[in-house]
Structures are given as C-alpha cells and as structure tokens.
C-alpha cells in the first residue's frame, strides 16, 4: 500500500523539531532513518498528520566520548548517527568492539545506511539490537520537550514491546553508553530465522575480569520477554568467580529464569528456555575468549 497523506517539514534546528512536536498534539512524528516508520506508513498502520524530518538538522550527528564526574567516560550518540557508522569501531575499547559486532545483526547494508540508533530505541522492537545493548549496559537516554528535559535509564525508557516512556512531544536527543574497562570480554549472539529478519532471541554479554575472576558481569536477553531484560541472577552467579566452564553453565541455566513470553508460532515456552540457555552459554564462552585474546 501507499502512505496516507501528511504534511512534511524539513527541520533545520533542534528547536524547530521540538516546536513542531509540541504543536502537533501527538499527531506529529519524527522522521529519522525512516527504516521502520515508512514500513508502518506503507502498511497504513500509522497515519501521522505531520512528519518532521530531522535529516537536515546540522548538529544531530554527534558521536563523542564525554567524561562525567563520578561516573566515568560515556559514548554519547546523537539522533543522526546511522547504524552503519558502528561497523568500524567508533571507540577503541570493548564497547566499540561490542557495537561493531552487534551492528552486523541489524538488517543489511542499505538499511544500515539510513537507520539510526536513536530511531531504533524510539521504535523499541522487542528483539532489536540497540535496545538490547542499551538495557544490558545501563545506557542513559536524554529526552527534550518544549518546556524541559529529562534523562532516563534504558530500563525505565523501554516499557514493553514497541512501547517506551517517551511522550509524543518528546525528542530523543542522545543516548549515552558507558565505556567498558579494558579487560572486558564482550559478545553478541542471536538466533534468527533468516539473515535479514529480526532476531528471535538475542543475548549480549560483557564480562570484566580482574586477577582471573569476574569483577562485573552483564547479561542481557531479548526475545525472552516483552522487552530486553538483564539476567541478574545469572550475573550474580558469575561475579567474584573465575569464568570456568562450570560457572558459565550454571549461569546459563539460571538465566532462563527471565523467560516470560507467550508461545508464538515459532517457539513454545520450553523451546524458548532451551534456546536462551544455549545462547547465554555461547555468549559467555565467547566473552571469556574475548578477554583471553586481549590479555
């Protein structure tokens, strides 16, 4: 099908975008990469009265490491940073490596040339890669509206499947991801039905090591519940221990506790639990090898 008619505004400044969202009374949408919005409009699943195109806003392409007193360095990403940008490591440490690995799972090169990280977070597909990483790493998201601004953790921002805490008049202006300690091993693994479809299940893992034991473990799962979730019980089982096969197997078994999703045509509950355990084990093994390769 073809999209329903709408008014089009090519904004030049952030203020113009925020003004249009405020005036739009919930009927105005941001057009970023358009790689999800146009699909929905072609289906007529959404029929916005107005689109405010942000592609010509000059200072929206920011990608910088920002040091915040007391909480260390963060990689801050603006609204026009496209997925493809992360194929080359944007930061020399484990965070840049993790982003470069995860990005290859997102669609394919032509979609990655247009789609944006912030657009993906705003869209909040339940198994999308960026929301999964944002929850796993405790990213922080900045939202701006006409009369103010707020910052939310990824966990508070993503409230469900395709659901976020963003109000219709709010613009996502950046997401900040914490840089990871040098001795961190990272992995991103997925199970998907075709190369270009969304994942059925995805797991992100980051293990920071100190003196042979895990000082910090992060395990995030997607496709196991309505939104990406951290497997905190599994993380706790690894923290303070050496990442032996046995410790990893126990953590993988514990991680199925987060599975809370209705059956779908491709997976019932027992299959999903089994697949989650296998993927977590695989991710943790890869993360452990990743530490070993670099130290």
């Amino acid at each position: 099908m073809k999209p329903a008619p709408f008014e089009y505004l090519a904004a030049r400044t952030c203020d113009e975008v925020i003004g249009a969202l405020a005036a739009g009374e919930g009927e105005t949408r941001v057009l970023a990469g358009g790689q999800s919005l146009l699909l929905e409009m072609n289906y007529r699943a959404v029929r916005p009265v107005q689109l405010v195109d942000i592609n010509r806003v000059r200072d929206f392409g920011g990608l910088d490491v920002v040091t915040v007193p007391d909480s260390g360095p963060w990689l801050c990403v603006g609204p026009l940073v496209r997925h493809g940008r992360f194929e080359q490591q944007v930061e020399a440490g484990p965070l840049g490596r993790l982003l470069a690995r995860a990005v290859h799972f997102i669609a394919h090169p032509p979609v990655r040339a247009r789609g944006t990280m912030l657009g993906s977070l705003a869209y909040a597909h339940p198994t999308a890669e960026w929301p999964t990483l944002a929850v796993t790493l405790d990213a922080r998201l900045d939202l701006v509206h006409e009369h103010g601004a707020r910052t939310l953790s990824a966990d508070d921002f993503i409230t469900g499947s395709f659901a976020t805490a963003r109000r219709p008049d709010e613009l996502l202006t950046r997401v900040c991801l914490p840089l990871l300690p040098t001795a961190t091993g990272v992995a991103f693994v997925e199970h998907r039905r075709t190369a270009a479809s969304f994942a059925q299940l995805a797991v992100a893992a980051a293990l920071s090591a100190q003196d042979g034991v895990v000082a910090d473990a992060r395990i995030g799962l997607a496709g196991t519940a309505a939104r990406p979730t951290r497997a905190r019980a599994a993380e706790a089982l690894l923290t303070g221990r050496a990442p032996t096969d046995e410790a990893i197997n126990r953590a993988a078994a514990a991680s199925v506790g987060v599975v809370d999703a209705p059956d779908d045509p491709h997976a019932g509950d027992s299959y999903r639990r089994h697949a989650a355990e296998v993927l977590v084990r695989r991710a943790l093994m890869q993360a452990r090898d990743d530490i070993a390769e670099r130290t």
Partner: protein, 160 residues
Amino acid sequence: MNISLTINGEERQLDVEPRRTLADALRDDCGLTGTHLGCEHGVCGACTVQVDGTAVRSCLMFAVQCDGSTVRTVEGLAAPDGTPHPLQTAFASEHALQCGFCTPGFLMLAAAALEENPALADDPDGLRELLTSNLCRCTGYEAIRLAVRLAAAMRNTGGT
C-alpha cells in the same frame, strides 16, 4: 511540493506530494521503470537505487527528502555511449539473472559497494553479507556472487 534533484546526471524539477516515495517518483513521475517494487517494506531490495552515492531502499524514502540530492538508477549505470557497466556485462556472462526482476536492485547495490571498496570482491564474508541485502527467487545467488567478483576483476584489469 516542488523539489529538484539530479537523476542520472540530468537535473529534474518535480512537483510531488510528500507521501510519494522515491521509488514511485522515479517510476511514475520520471518514467524510470527500471527501478522495481517488490515488497514496499524494505525486505526484497528490488527498489535499491543510489542516493548521493549510497545504496538505499527507494521504497523507504520519500522523494521530498531527496531535494537537492543526486540519484542514480539502473538507467544511469551504462556509460553515456551505451557501453554496459562491468557489472552488467558480468551479470550477462555469468547468467546472474533469470526473470530479471531483482537485477536492477542487485546492480545498484553492488555498484555502490564496489565503488566504495573495490577489495570487497576478495572478502567472502563481506560480499556474502552485502548480497544478503536483496532477494532473488531465481538464481540461487551463486551466479550473482560470481558476477560481482568478475566485475571487480574486470575493473581492476582496466576492462569495461
């Protein structure tokens, strides 16, 4: 809305509704029907064209977004004197098409990729990842892969 864009080297003024996708503007307003529409939701890649040198889905962009841009479609791939692009020659000689519906998309995808990185043809994983972008129901992809490699080799030896 009035927009102006350069399509295959020719400047064009168009008056389009904002909801007109780039694909429909090319096909219906410019008569450039070499760009095909399969799914209109980003999956098949038949509509792939180059906007400012980058391969994109023309079903997932509005024409008004391309105001001031340079667009290249399959009609602009051959040299001005009609000499086929190396990829066109290679697709023919490797039998990389049967029905041909997907071919314009694959050509524009591969042409942009080889221009950006001619060494891609020697990187099996990279080439495979690129070619998963588009769907072909006929060839089974192997002939397409071989054609892209042949075209890259032709470029490197200076052939056309």
